[in-house]
Amino acid sequence: MNIWKTAARNVSRQRRRAVLLGGAVALGSGMMVLVDSLTGGMAAAMKANVTAANVGELYVAGSVWRENGTASKRLDDESTLAAVMADAGLKVTKSLRKTSAETTLVFGSKTVRLGLSGIPWDGASSALGEPQLSSGNLDGMKDASGIILPKDAADRLGVKAGESILARATTVTGQVNVLDFVVAGILAPSGGDMFTSAYARLEKVNDLVNLPKDGAQQTNFYLAKGGDLDAAADAILAGLRAKGAVVADRVKTSADPMANGGPGEDGGLPGMSLGLSATKLEPWSGTKYTISTLDEVASQFMTPIMSIKSIGAIVFVALLAICMVGVVNTFRMVLLERTREIGTMRAMGVKAREVMRLFLAEAVIMTGGGSLFGMAVAFILMPVMSMFESAGGGVFALFLREGHLYFQPSVSGALSCVLLTIVAGSLAALFPARQAAALQPAVALRGI
């Protein structure tokens, strides 16, 4: 007896029942594949947005201990870092020096608190590449006082390209400073807006925080595609320590976003913290390096992704449980309906084991077919859902790619889902299948 052919025929005999059960399985599997691809896409989009906003994926920041018992954010010793980078042999595609300031931007009576990143500009070009501007143009950055604002901040200030604003910030030693900037351009909304960083010329931001014009607070690196950020960070740390430099212990990436302690106590991001928190610090001499990676910065934003994934998994498990109950009931019904048929088959020499296999094969066809159908529907829905532009801003925008939902399907994830459904369906069908196999031919033929 060809078990699979017979099983397929049996399934097609009760089309309505098969469609209902398969449909429920398809719903669960399709939803799981969709959620898995969505969370994968959200994580990828978020990392891309964080990389763009932070202008780099691997960050080496410096701090200097001061006589008054505080630390000052400045990367004074860049030569040691350069030597270590040369020795480490890392595949760095791009690096840039950066100084950041927490500013209050003032325009008339309007104020906005905003991070300001000072990066090197060569005329109108920088590591930002060709950012999409909603107004103004990058030529304005040829001016030493040029500044590029995120759309949200510009809207809240009511400022337009070409107008002057004031930026108030605290210097690296804690004094208040104010400088004039001219809005060169206003960025189009993007996922990186969550960081709401404005960009200006490095030397101007150095002026604002009272660093030497050619100074910087950190150096950011981009690694070649596929580069292991964690390993690179460890190599830099080991290299710096080998040269006798003071290096802060790394805050390692964790699957649990809260394991890193959430945002740094000094208001920075985990991994970006320079240890300038309220907790008492031990003094050091020279430059203290702090190395962090994109993964560490991104880890705190994994919480909503993990929540969506968990909710999806819970719903999937619930649907799977409902399907399993459905499979049990369906096959008990099948057992009652086909008692005589089973008796005949047994009387014709079909073994009990083959009857059980037949039942299990029917369960595999129904759940596997439903699961594959659900997966196919999910794969059709993904590009359709990606077409719609999301109106959500703020934190939500961080997980979008250019304002659209982004799905990153995982073949292994989808196949695991199908496999899990088949296993669950087979397990559910096992009890009625064993009952069917245990039927005595004579008793079954009497129709009991």
Binding site: R66, N68, T70, V106, G108, S109, K110, T111, L166, R168, T170, T171, T173, G174, Q175, V176, N177, V178, L179, N210, E265, S277, A278
Partner: protein, 257 residues
Amino acid sequence: MSKRSRIRAFLFLSFLAAFPAAYAQTADANPDFRKILTLIDERSTFPKIDFSAVVQMKTTDPEKGDSDEKSAFFRRDSLDAFLILQLEPSTKKGQGMLLVSDNLWKYDPVSRKFSHSSLKDNYGDSAAKNSDFRSSSKAKDYKVAAASSGALGKFDCWILELEAVRDDVTYPFMKLWVSKSDNLLLKAEEYSLTRRLLRTSLFPSYSKLADKYIATRSIFQDGLVAGKRTEIIITDLSVKALPDDMFTKSYLEKVGK
């Protein structure tokens, strides 16, 4: 005595008579300005006793609208500590701010959480700074770079231009108007490192408490945000001893319930 001699004698006597006045004027033109700064600090600091008051704060903000707040204020300068408990409006009741040494904490009774803050930050959305509630340390933080004589309304004042002596003092430059008659600080201007006016503070009325002078009315005018202004009125001044557990986080939690 000839007429010529009489004239000479008159001129000599006139010179002698004028000398003390001229000397006095010279002395008046060059008082020890450092002492004046020290006096300003000492008069508003309570090193051995506690100080408490009720603070009413009225802020005019063209961006965020006007607001009225009332707080209970407690200070123990021997610990370099203060505690501010919000009384009004009702939506903010129970919120508090605690300074102990250099650690400044904000307390939110709804979330029951403390957050670290900075003395350099503005107090809420006002034009007042958190550091305005701390004891004054101008003599320690600044040197007098220039001084001149001038008037502020009907008051004759010394106009002192101050420069921070360290690079961690929040305002690198200040300008003070100190009344000549009683050495009270009447007006202050704070400047950024680029010498841009950040804030103008006016202290039009003082109350004497023990041997101290407390500005019972202060007006803070934001120098960058057009039209932003905060007026602080201090009432119910007291130097009664405060309980020792008052300047602790647990006390703030307890009263915030």
